[in-house]
Amino acid sequence: MSLLTVKDLCVRYKNQIKKMEAVREISFSVKPGECVGIVGESGSGKSTAMQALMGLLPDTAEVSCGELKLGEQSLMVSAQNGSKKDREHFEKQMCRIRGGEMSMIFQNPSAYLNPAVKIGRQIAETIRVHKQCSTKEAKEETLRLLEMVGIRNPLQRISQYPFELSGGMQQRVAIAIALACEPKLLIADEPTTALDATVQKQILALLRRIAEETGTAMIIVTHNLSAAAVLCSRILVMKAGQIIEEGSVQDIFRYPQASYTKELVYYAQELQKGAGGQAGGGVLLKTEKVCKKYRNQNFWLGRDDQEAVHQVSMEIREGESFGIVGESGSGKTTLARLVAGIHKPTSGQILSRGEIQMVFQHSYGSFNPRFTVEQILEEPLIYQTGDNREQRMEKINKMLPLVGINPEERKKYPHQFSGGQQQRIGIARALISDPKLVVCDEPVSSLDVSIQAQILELLKEIQDRRNLSYLFISHDLNVIRHMSQRMGVMYLGRMVESGITEEVYEDPWHPYTKELLTSVLVPDPKIAKRKKRALIKDNLFSEEKGCPYYSHCGYALECCGKEKPEIYQFDSRRVACFLYSEEHGGKRSPDYVMTAQI
């Protein structure tokens, strides 16, 4: 007996010009208490299919379905295109089902929660719509739900507005709303994509706990195979609106059948491999205690400086990739811009030999939409070289095939290319003026997994060919491991640990690095399920004095809350933590070999 049965679900988008088929005859079923993952790249129709089930698609969508059964009752999804009466009937039915029996979590909780309503009221509202109960009962239920999704001090939290909560907290509230009426089925559409690595792991663990405790069936829609591996027992792989493969998690990972699934699994596992290679060149770029403060000057409140980057020292050698990893708000993008010379440091200095160029995260936003590819690539040449037009065209014609773009397409505008191709053009622009160092600021995080792998390979290939150095910035630990020989970990504007990538991964020294590494998603269902649950913690604001990680740290000493740790260096490893200081670890003989203290 299955909870949800879908047969031949189709979604077509009507447009004035043409019809587009987003979902083509997909059929699947979900058993009670089962966790099903739907994996596919952007545009594969996975979200559209889920929205069709919930009846959330706009009028321009044409939905048809052979059979759709939720428990005992069948839903007439196709009625939303029918006559007015049909539609009204359908809406009435769905109003009861949405939230009551089937609910949904979306990717971006800050857009999903109403910014002007306190979270307690938002949860209670849902409860009171579906259940006959008093305000007081609804409040008690709200508190219970918040506790269930792992929010401490729920009594305090219910009178807060969404913007007062961190992204992970907001997603927890969204989950609480979805669970408010004990639905039989929970659809999560990319529930962790917008969240940081550590938080992502926590939310996934939370969803798993909820599935186990309440027996709610779940459909997890994601582009990340590893995230699906953590949660699901069965996976459906979607491509171009169709389900191309279906199987248990083990089968999908061990014996993928369809070539597309093989590719997905291969890329995910490929990313796990380290970068390898040792760079022995001279120092190309050196930063010394670089700080960047943003000045918020307000007439009424006076000055309020925010320090985005605090005393970061690092060096990048010729031909090597230096990776920087950190959560959002850790100052890694600011550091990238400081290195690239877009911003000037408030104090400290950056010394570099040779030109520095940059590859941006959203390559489309880094192109003037009014320029053709040719104009985009020509611009750096005009202002940085004395080449005449013919020489410039020759360079462009040479550069485009190198990044895998047909030179005949150079008269096109950037929006006529796909996301991966746009990133290739972005790389071409960075390379065309022949820089020594390229700063890559999250170059693949907005791309699909298969395209990510291609872009990373391209970057590696170019590095080998041109002896380039990269400063590689990413929130994705797998990407950093795959790309960089040395790496730094940033936390709230400080570089808390840096060293050789393999060593840091094998043996993290700083408590934060350790937590970050335990939150890596592994594309292997066995390991993923065995891994310990990440601790659920409140996001407290860091103390003004003391170590920024003090409030989260499991190894905090008394001094950690009072002063800031300096950076202690041991060979290639640098760590900003009192555990490694002489004052607190005792005097050491000169030939003492430091090891991890945690």
Binding site: R337, A340, G341, I342, I356, Q357, M358, F360, H362, G365, S366, F367, N368, P369, R370, E379, P380, Y383, Q384, R429, S433
Partner: protein, 273 residues
């Protein structure tokens, strides 16, 4: 062409109206046998006829010629002021937004001060000193008319300045002034053009209003405002003398507004992607 007209019905209607009105405003005063100023007591207050399509006024002047002559002045003031306001506004707002910081604050506060002075006051002064003609009216309208454009351009500039393609251009070594003219200004044009299509009817109305209260275009020159004012004294006897200029004025403003509305829609859908 046919598809374009179907997709942009408003703009097509507005443009057609505007072209006909402009053509008439240029051709009619050139080709007509009557001048806008020649008076003839014999034929005063005639109703419409083949000789005088809109009839004649109380001095025996042909209203048809006078109306088109007035349309000519309206168009000159409308388009002229849009042109001048557009250029000043784009450069002023663009500079303020591009430089930012203290200069931005100073420039925009100056603009606030200028826009807070009642315009009627200095327009009367200007027409007194320079004489009541198209030039002085243009000057009067343009003293504060550019401010709304400047504000829009400044806002757009602040937004575009933070775009990554500007950073990329910086990294490519593009000089600042080229970034300003090549990367930033073209990006602000969408909303500015929409704003200017609002400014044109506004200027036309201002001129008509000033002429109506008697501080605009000087007699015997005809503007749509003076025509309405002239006809007001005998409104109850000869209402048609008033209806014709009002009708043309409405047609003119509505045509331009149609074009503007369509442009705005296009700009919005473009922003949405």
């Amino acid at each position: 062409m046919k598809i374009w007209c179907q997709q942009h019905k408003l703009a097509a209607a507005g443009l057609t109206g505007l072209i006909i009105l402009t053509a008439a405003a240029i051709i009619v005063p050139l080709c007509s046998n009557y001048s806008y100023s020649a008076q003839d007591v014999q034929i005063k207050n005639l109703p419409s006829s083949f000789a005088h399509l809109f009839g004649t006024d109380k001095f025996g002047r042909d209203i048809f010629v006078r109306v088109w002559y007035g349309t000519r002045i309206s168009l000159m003031i409308g388009i002229g002021s849009a042109f001048i306001n557009g250029i000043i506004g784009i450069l002023y707002g663009g500079t303020a937004g591009f430089i930012g910081g203290r200069a931005d604050m100073l420039l925009m506060r100056i603009a606030d001060v200028i826009s807070s002075i009642p315009s009627l006051l200095y327009i009367i002064l200007i027409t007194m000193v320079l004489g009541a003609n198209v030039g002085s009216l243009l000057l009067g309208i343009c003293i504060a008319g550019w401010i709304s454009t400047a504000r829009i351009v400044r806002g757009e500039m602040l937004r575009l300045k933070e775009m990554e393609y500007v950073m990329a251009a910086n990294l490519s070594g593009v000089p600042k002034w080229i970034i300003f003219f090549k990367h930033l200004l073209p990006g602000t044009l969408g909303p500015v053009i929409v704003n200017i299509t609002v400014l044109i009817p506004q200027a036309i109305f201002t001129e008509a209003f000033l002429s109506f209260v008697g501080i605009g275009i000087e007699a015997p020159m005809a503007s749509l405002g003076t025509l309405i004012q002239d006809a007001r004294s005998q409104m109850q006897l000869y209402p048609s003398q008033m209806v014709y200029p009002i009708f043309i004025l409405c047609l003119l403003v509505v045509s331009i507004s149609f074009v503007g509305a369509d442009l705005e829609r296009a700009a919005k859908s473009q922003r949405r992607g």
